[in-house]
């Protein structure tokens, strides 16, 4: 499906540009966005090195295990296929916690690490396992307690109370996360029935 979407984005864009005379803009953005993407990746290098290094200390000292023990009852229900003592659980948890506190740059390395562990669990297949899709759903729904960037922008634009959206945002993100987990369950059962 991703192949189809990817090609469609290009072809629809180019077709539209051909009809509406925006081919100039398409040309410009074609290569500038490629270099943007590389910039983003290089931005990731420093963050990944720092947080993965720090996480290694947390892993070796057993801090990660302690953390996952604390939330084991909930996580066991969300990720039934991951053994509770598996290192993947610790990484999934740190990823979720980092997301909750709006530490996007810490969440990504831990999420990737969790994906690696989950891939080992599934025997290194090129197709995502059930737990991988669940982890992705958890991340795309963006469970955040404090939306720091949004608050900063509201402060800059002179809001009376920049944080008055924290409560509604929390409610909305809870709805989205709950929905993501439910939709994920639905698709999982649909896949199983097909087999």
């Amino acid at each position: 499906m991703i192949n189809l979407i990817w090609v469609a984005l290009f072809l629809i864009g180019m077709g539209y540009a051909a009809v509406n005379g925006t081919m100039d803009d398409v040309n410009k953005v074609l290569f500038s966005s490629a270099s943007d993407a590389v910039q983003i990746c290089f931005g990731l290098v420093s963050i990944l090195i720092f947080w993965l290094g720090l996480m290694k200390i947390a892993e070796k000292s057993g801090l990660l295990d302690k953390l996952s023990n604390l939330f084991k009852p909930v996580m066991k229900r969300i990720f039934p296929e991951v053994p509770p003592d598996h290192p993947a659980m610790g990484y999934i948890l740190s990823n979720t916690i980092a997301n909750m506190f709006g530490l996007g740059n810490a969440a990504t390395p831990m999420g990737i690490k969790a994906m690696e562990e989950l891939k080992k669990l599934s025997g290194g297949k090129a197709t995502p396992s059930r737990s991988m899709i669940t982890l992705l759903a958890l991340n795309t729904s963006g469970l955040t307690l404090v939306p720091t960037t949004v608050i900063a922008i509201r402060m800059q634009s002179g809001a009376h109370s920049p944080t008055d959206i924290v409560g509604p945002t929390l409610l909305a993100t809870l709805c989205t996360t709950a929905a993501a987990l439910l939709i994920d369950r639905y698709f999982y059962h649909r896949r199983r029935r097909k087999k």
């Binding site: 490629a34 990746c41 995502p128 509604p168």
Partner: protein
């Protein structure tokens, strides 16, 4: 307000301090462990690169051609029918595609309509309550070499839709 900003600035340093203190207490050679773990960082970031370049270029072409605006124009009547102000529609569509793009749109809405207006608040909540689905799928699956996406994108996009609808409902209920 100051409490939350203080909390945010203290959070990361405190987190680092806890990890370092606990590691030292448990007699982990902290610096060696840090270097060992950090080594993976570079190769991981590089392995994500082709995925991100491919996805970002495609999304940019779609946006720059004006096809994105046309799509917005097309579904605008539909959205206003469910009580969603048409000004936030571009943001709702941009949110899953591009994080920086959505942040730009949200900033623009907050500045244009005012942070305390209905549109400004709705934009803030929408920005804060979901994440960039395409980016997350690309980076997380790209890094570990998953090429078939399975149901992941469908789950993410459907959740985004729920996110937009719940943002509209909740903001209407809280500030309406």
């Amino acid at each position: 307000m100051s409490l939350i900003t203080t909390f945010s600035t203290w959070l990361v340093p405190c987190l680092i301090a806890v990890v370092l203190l606990y590691g030292t207490l448990k007699k982990v050679p902290s610096y060696d462990a840090f270097v060992e773990g950090g080594k993976e960082g570079f190769s991981l970031a590089i392995s994500v690169m082709p995925f991100l370049v491919g996805m970002l270029v495609a999304i940019s072409v779609f946006r720059a051609s004006g096809a994105m605006d046309a799509l917005i124009h097309f579904i605008r009547p539909l959205m206003s029918a469910i009580g969603m102000p048409s000004q936030v529609l571009p943001l709702a569509l941009m949110r899953p595609l591009s994080g920086t793009g959505a942040l730009g749109l949200m900033t623009d809405l907050v500045k244009t309509y005012g942070p305390d207006s209905f549109v400004g608040r709705l934009a803030s909540v929408m920005q804060g309550s979901t994440d960039t689905t395409f980016y997350v799928v690309t980076v997380y699956f790209g890094a570990v070499g998953i090429h078939r996406i399975g149901d992941a994108l469908k789950v993410g996009l459907l959740a985004d839709l729920v996110g937009v609808i719940s943002a509209v409902c909740i903001v209407t209920w809280a500030f309406g």
